[in-house]
């Protein structure tokens, strides 16, 4: 059967109503940028229009925590033309064998009004261990903010903090961030990222036997996870898909 004219009109109106506005699509794109930078830090290093446009909004969405974190890590800033906003380090690289890790990843962020414009940090050779300083950068909370943007910033920010802590060898800090994330966002879209960070941090803390359970959950969730090479590099060859785990040796 075909629909009556009345119903067809109704559906036409409904179709128009579910059309997204340009603002809707821009907003989602900005959020995606944040997510992708978290998902794959190399993404943030790509000079790509998609990220440059969205990155401004995305970095802002990460809030003061990310800005403070980045500010504390600037390396010999050089004045540049005012059209170039300062870069914010949003995530350290995650890659397989540690010696091949590239430089910190940068994305463009809006300049804070009171600060002079500066070039992005291009390299960071030291491996600072500043547990207390890092922990105090974000006022962590156990309640999920009501505002969607704040919630999103917290969800992404906790994982960025955990990733940075792992890359700087602060395993316990990383586990703290991961646990808060799991408590606040149990059904997060970034469960793969969270589990990988938990495995890495647990191995770094010298307890690979405790990393087996999250590792198994990671394999169950994403058997071809891109984190597997790095996990193998940090945790050892027993953390291989299909290999006997540390408990089985």
């Amino acid at each position: 059967m075909s629909l009556s004219a009345r119903t067809k009109n109704l559906l036409d109106e409904a179709r128009r109503e579910v059309e997204p506005s340009a603002d809707d699509l821009r907003r989602v794109r900005a959020r995606l940028t944040t997510s992708l930078a978290t998902e794959n830090p190399a993404v943030a290093a790509v000079p790509f229009a998609f990220l440059k446009v969205g990155g401004l909004i995305a970095a802002a969405a990460l809030g003061l925590g990310a800005w403070q974190w980045a500010s504390s890590r600037r390396v010999e800033p050089t004045p540049v033309a005012p059209s170039v906003p300062p870069a914010v380090v949003v995530a350290a690289p995650s890659c397989p064998p540690a010696p091949e890790c590239p430089a910190p990843i940068v994305v463009q962020a809006p300049a804070p009004p009171a600060k002079p414009l500066q070039c992005p940090p291009v390299a960071r050779t030291e491996s600072p261990v500043r547990a207390n300083e890092e922990s105090s950068l974000r006022n962590l909370t156990y309640s999920v903010p009501a505002d969607v943007a704040d919630r999103w910033a917290l969800e992404v920010g906790l994982l960025i903090d955990a990733r940075v802590a792992v890359d700087e060898g602060r395993a316990l800090d990383a586990l703290g961030h991961v646990q808060r994330h799991a408590k606040l966002f149990p059904e997060s879209s970034f469960r793969e990222e969270r589990l990988a960070l938990e495995v890495l941090a647990t191995c770094q803390a010298g307890r690979p036997e405790l990393a087996k359970a999250p590792f198994d959950r990671l394999l169950e969730l994403e058997p071809a996870s891109t984190y597997l090479p790095r996990i193998r590099g940090v945790c050892g060859a027993t953390f291989e898909r299909g290999a006997a785990g540390p408990d089985d040796e």
Partner: protein, 182 residues
């Protein structure tokens, strides 16, 4: 090169591979973001949740872009992902609603003609069983062809036609029942 090897290669040459992948992804977003948004909205995701749902669809797409084998069209592949995400969202909303059953129903907030029409369509869709609703939404709101719907839902085309016929009958009846005869 299997997906795992591809991922490993991406690790070795991050900037090139990631840039290529992002270029694909950017084009894909440009071309299909509106379609995905409309799909999740049509499947019952509220406007307030459409940001989250659309984003979730594209995150999934980004993660799985390397595994897309071209056996289905990109649009039906996206649609399949959007259906899964929309289902999760509507399930979550239902759980929230069930948990607050004691509260009075939310007041109707539709203010424009279009919003009222969508409100009525949503109520009529609620009267349909999921298989019928799915076919109806994909055909009448998303305007997918029957073969495309068959591909998305992994059913044969005849099934799509028979479900669509039944869905249209029931939808018409619902419109009448809900007083949509403007």
């Amino acid at each position: 090169m299997n997906p795992e090897e591809l991922q490993l290669a991406t690790r070795e040459r991050p900037s090139d591979e990631v840039a290529l992948r992002l270029a694909d992804f950017d084009r894909l977003y440009e071309a299909h973001a509106a379609f995905v948004w409309k799909t999740v909205r049509g499947l019952g995701v509220s406007k307030a949740d459409a940001d989250d749902a659309t984003q979730e669809v594209f995150l999934t797409v980004y993660r799985k872009l390397g595994t897309f084998e071209g056996r289905s069209s990109l649009r039906t592949w996206l649609c399949g992902i959007a259906i899964g995400v929309a289902r999760n969202h509507t399930r979550k909303v239902k759980r929230r609603t069930d948990a607050s059953d004691a509260l009075p129903p939310a007041e109707k907030t539709s203010t424009t003609e279009g919003a009222e029409a969508l409100d009525l369509v949503t109520r009529c869709l609620d009267d349909l069983d999921e298989p019928l609703r799915m076919v109806f939404v994909l055909a009448e709101l998303q305007q997918l062809t029957a073969p495309e719907i068959a591909e998305v839902l992994a059913v044969n085309v005849n099934t799509v036609y028979s479900r669509l016929r039944l869905a249209r009958e029931r939808f018409e009846a619902s419109v009448t029942r809900h007083g949509g005869g403007r």
